[in-house]
Symmetry: C2
Subunit: 347 residues, 2 copies
């Protein structure tokens, strides 16, 4: 079965869910263009999820994907949080921020029964997960309405594990990819492979369709992952300058500049390694800093710095999520881009 | 002009030069099969280079490549060397090695007039470099007999620099590649991109042919880099189990095992970051250790440990060079493999 048959889509192009920089508008545009649009829900509460799903079903009759994180909620650690804020103290002083006034907060929520309650009313045709899979009872709820289930693998072992759990297709996320590494069976960044190495090894290891992600920027990239054995391609960075995306101005500016040539896997923004364009915070604290609280708690202490900097037009403290290949980013409607991308494969 | 026309070869497949694990036998086999065989000279003195070149021209009339490093020779630093040996002291004790009896030594030599004297007699049709290019007078000598000149780029900036120096083709080395990173304009590993991100960006940035390297394992991989804009593919790891390769038994065993799933960029073996399968030394000292002497001086202190361990059948202290995709390595004649690889492209 092709990926298109499996998901009921016309083009083997999946728009990567990008929490914090896009909502229903991008998903609708991509799904209406024949790809699989995705709604990232990791930073949305139940009401926001409901509103966004309502917007999607009002604007498209095509299949779409809703994406959730499924990390174990962290145990807050006051000493670690204090050490983290101490490291950030010079920045708070620079921006005149009262560190006592910063709210703690989860920042990113794992998939929950509360979220499943909302989904049930919409019965989304595709549900994808990052960081593994939710608990069996939660997964059973998603499957109860016939949703196809996708999840991300960053190693061959993770792909095999997901197949054994019965996912319908696996996203093989190469090291080039922007945003959070989906790794869940390992915390060792040494296991993380480039797309060129990962995709063929995953494609050989599992029987379910493989959706390649990481560094794919244009139709030639889509054709290349198909040559490597992928059934389709997932792209995020390529969509980042589309008008349907809510990317901040500093983020857009960084993506369109030479700064995008240098990215890093950093844990500074959430506590988990994610690929961002290197900015002041990453340069000064180092991309992987041992002082960060557990995912997603690191985000709370960064939030006011980011807000102050962005208000002044600066991305110095923003997570400038990007893959290693932003060179093809263009200001182009998402529907146009989706069609162009799919011209890379005959499938 | 195609890569084949430029280099006078039939198939757009370059066998990556792999110093320490192969000599003329592999180069001859690949060149006779229609690809570009390569003789790595970084670890050979002038007489050995002469002998190997004589063996090549005696066995093939096809074009071949000779490869040299062109690093600046390091200034020995006694304190740094002492610190490095102190770090290794527990291993010397474990193996009963007298640290006073370990000879210092360069390990890898940069291209020199002495080497050029040897080359002149053979006029090799292709000369490739790693770590940039040699001094202008040395490069002029190579060009004097009409040799085509290749060098490695790990960033778009390095590719542009090499094109400006007049190289005939550039090897775009993605992060997946085994062995030494060819980086020379930067020492920042954060700039190093996966093949999927690097190749299209380099192909767009320069007009000379781009040879993709890193993570390519089979005909599908060759087809994929051609889709990304490469004129050809360079493969090393894929050849590592060929009978023409002098790979050590522990190295062969590691390549053929699950251990090959986890590689790291490490500076432990030479002082420069190179990709190796993770072994005991890397696990225990960390892949990137600040105590290593400058390239290539780190190698001398490791040599006796490696010799003792390998004599006992262990690769614990060996540089187990490998790219991130050893999964397709097979015990197959290099000529057979070369033909199979080239079936991935119509060019």
């Amino acid at each position: 079965m092709t990926l298109q048959q499996l998901l009921g889509i016309r083009l083997p192009v999946v728009q990567a869910p990008m929490a914090g920089v896009q909502g229903s508008a991008l998903a609708v545009a991509v799904s209406n263009a024949g790809g699989l649009g995705s709604l990232p829900c990791a930073m949305l509460g139940p009401e926001a999820i409901r509103d966004e799903l309502a917007a999607i079903v009002a604007q498209t009759s095509q299949p779409y994907n809703v994406n959730f994180f499924c990390h174990a909620p962290p145990v807050p650690d006051a000493a670690r949080e204090a050490a983290w804020r101490k490291l950030l103290a010079p920045y708070y002083a620079e921006f005149g921020i009262d560190p006592q006034a910063i709210p703690a907060g989860p920042g990113r929520r794992p998939f929950s029964h509360e979220a499943a309650d909302v989904l049930e009313a919409f019965r989304p045709p595709v549900v994808s997960f990052h960081f593994g899979l939710p608990a069996p009872d939660l997964l059973a709820r998603v499957r109860s309405w016939g949703a196809k289930v996708l999840s991300t693998a960053t190693t061959v072992a993770e792909a095999r594990w997901l197949e054994a759990q019965g996912v319908d297709a696996v996203v093989a996320q190469g090291l080039e990819a922007g945003g959070h590494r989906g790794m869940f069976l390992t915390g060792d960044l040494g296991t993380q492979m480039g797309t060129f190495a990962l995709v063929p090894q995953v494609a050989r290891a599992v029987r379910i369709p493989v959706i390649a992600a990481g560094g794919i920027a244009d139709a030639r990239g889509v054709a290349a992952v198909v040559a490597l054995g992928a059934a389709g391609a997932q792209l995020g960075t390529a969509y980042m300058l589309c008008p349907e995306v809510t990317t901040s101005e500093p983020h857009r500016a960084a993506l369109a500049s030479d700064a995008a040539q240098v990215t890093a896997l950093t844990n500074l923004f959430t506590g988990r390694p994610s690929r961002s364009i290197v900015n002041r915070l990453i340069r000064e604290l180092g991309p992987l800093n041992a002082a960060t609280p557990a995912f997603p708690l690191a985000a709370a202490a960064i939030a006011p710095l980011r807000a102050k900097a962005e208000a002044a037009g600066s991305g110095d403290f923003s997570p400038l999520w990007a893959g290693q290949n932003a060179s093809a980013c263009r200001v182009v409607p998402a529907a146009t881009l989706t069609g162009e991308l799919a011209s890379g494969c005959s499938g």
